[in-house]
Symmetry: C2
Subunit: 331 residues, 2 copies
């Protein structure tokens, strides 16, 4: 339990929430990045919007109660969610990991229930801000972050601030088409980076090739249940020398490298940060991706960029949501 | 001849230069965008770097002399050039329209000869800044400009300022790969937007299809000299109902639309400005491109963007070079 006075508004901590496809992380975070309390529960997104909203309310209620906090102790409540956000209206327009979410007025729902200031930000944008303030991107003015997970998200820091664009929906880098004749993407386009290099794409490609009869240690690794194959397992098999796994990853890495070269040519960033579960695969994915990116981009821009892995892990979202509430000013 | 006192430095005009593949435009421009004098001469880029530098010096000398100006009357000299610029060192690293330009220290050459403040900026970045301050993008905080010409250049305005990235090389949007298996690009990659939708790409594709035996009014239009076919002529033929010309343009338009959808998803811009000679083709190119872009991008971002044509024509570069010298602050 936290001992909390009613501080000046600017000095109060933020209740930060990261609503992911599999879990809801909640935390109390101070302006200097101290996590005073943290909790986690399953999202169970398949149960539908009202059920998830109910669990979200419970998660916030519990964290407040367990720490004897009231809304008046807080700077505000700040939510990170996947998908393009309408930040003017505080609406989650669509959310890739929660297929039945369409135009959910999440900010207003939270504001009405808790009667405090409420913030809503895209999860990958939050991760970029989190890494910029507290992680791999500290002191870096111009950076681009990619979250390599089930999907591929993006966040853009320009001149030390999160770049949101006209309506807060900027940064959908996973939905940059790099192969106009490529596989269909969940967003309706073809050949998006996400459709070629996400965890879902890697697993799908591996399963397809196994079903076509290619040999791999992966079949035994999942006891023949091919649908249990994940990008993480493909990474594990690749590290153990599995040829199919290595080939699938090196193809995904090539696409990732092409996408990063695009970003280097467009943004001339100081840094690209790679986060999300797939970044944990490490060398078999990231080394060839880095090589392709640096070989393809204009030398002047390739020479200026560091391509690094994220430091905050899955906490980047809550750190970033908190930072977003504390103010998107240059640090 | 201009009557010019030695004004306070901030109030003095800029001598702006746009060094293009075919011509060098020079102008004297005030902070509020008045063009006090202007001149133009051929670049004759084929004669090599020293010859072009010599003509550049003459062009500046003549403009100063004809208007009885000395460097001390000026805020500075500001140069716009195609290709990625190393803005820290003032070097033109490569320049697509002047193939023998490699690491030319243009800013220092001008500074040494004229002994005043000297600025160097990419031509499409200058065009973006010019359109932002004096053209189609006035009052728009977040915009992306594409110059559709021999190549495809880009310029990015964020929060009312030209975005240069780590070293001033940002904005190479023409070298965003959208078809990873596409045709080779001059930059060494495959399937860059420039390789698919530039004037060069349109002319090349048209000539190729004519040589393969397709019928078109274009062959007669150029008196059988297929190598004289330009994107502008393809546009003219398309407006007159030529089927081949219409098909080539609609394919280029599709690629342009895919590229713009990428930009809309990444930047969530308020505006995309299309400039350069190919933008003059108008409806046969721009209407289908706009349709593809708005249909493919996320609705929240597609709904926020206006896709418009540039207003300043080929003067955008000198206006932008001048604006760059006057200071890249928010207006």
């Amino acid at each position: 339990m936290l001992k909390m006075q009613v501080l000046e508004k600017e000095a109060r901590p933020v209740l930060a929430v990261d609503i992911g496809g599999t879990k809801i992380i909640t935390a109390i975070i101070t302006a200097d990045g101290q996590v005073l309390a943290e909790a986690c529960q399953p999202t169970l997104a398949g149960e539908g919007v009202p059920a998830v909203i109910g669990r979200l309310f419970s998660a916030i209620d519990n964290l407040l109660q367990q720490n004897s906090l009231k809304t008046s102790h807080l700077r505000g409540i700040s939510l990170a969610v996947a998908g393009p956000i309408d930040s003017k209206r505080g609406i989650v327009t669509v959310s890739p990991n929660m297929p039945d979410w369409h135009d959910v007025p999440l900010r207003e729902m939270i504001r009405q229930r808790y009667e405090g200031e409420t913030f809503l930000v895209n999860d990958a944008s939050a991760a970029a801000l989190g890494e910029h303030r507290f992680g791999a991107g500290r002191g870096i003015n111009d950076l681009v972050l990619l979250t390599l997970g089930t999907g591929i998200g993006g966040g853009i820091i320009i001149d030390g601030r999160l770049y949101g664009g006209a309506g807060g929906a900027a940064g959908e880098i996973g939905h940059m088409v790099i192969d106009v004749n490529g596989p269909a993407c969940g967003c309706g386009r073809r050949g998006c980076l996400e459709a070629l290099a996400s965890g879902t794409a890697v697993a799908r490609e591996t399963i397809k090739r196994l079903r076509q009869g290619e040999k791999s240690s992966l079949a035994a690794m999942v006891g023949g249940r091919l649908e249990d194959i994940t990008a993480e397992k493909v990474g594990e098999a690749a590290r153990q020398g599995d040829g199919l796994a290595q080939d699938v990853l090196s193809r995904a890495a090539k696409y990732l490298g092409v996408g990063m070269a695009n970003l280097i040519n467009i943004f001339n960033p100081q840094m690209i940060i790679l986060g999300g579960g797939m970044a944990n695969i490490g060398a078999p994915l990231l080394d060839p991706a880095r090589q392709v990116a640096l070989a393809q981009a204009f030398p002047i821009a390739a020479g200026a960029v560091s391509i690094v892995t994220a430091e905050l892990g899955e906490a980047a979202g809550i750190y970033g949501a908190a930072a977003f509430a504390f103010g998107n000013d240059r640090r």
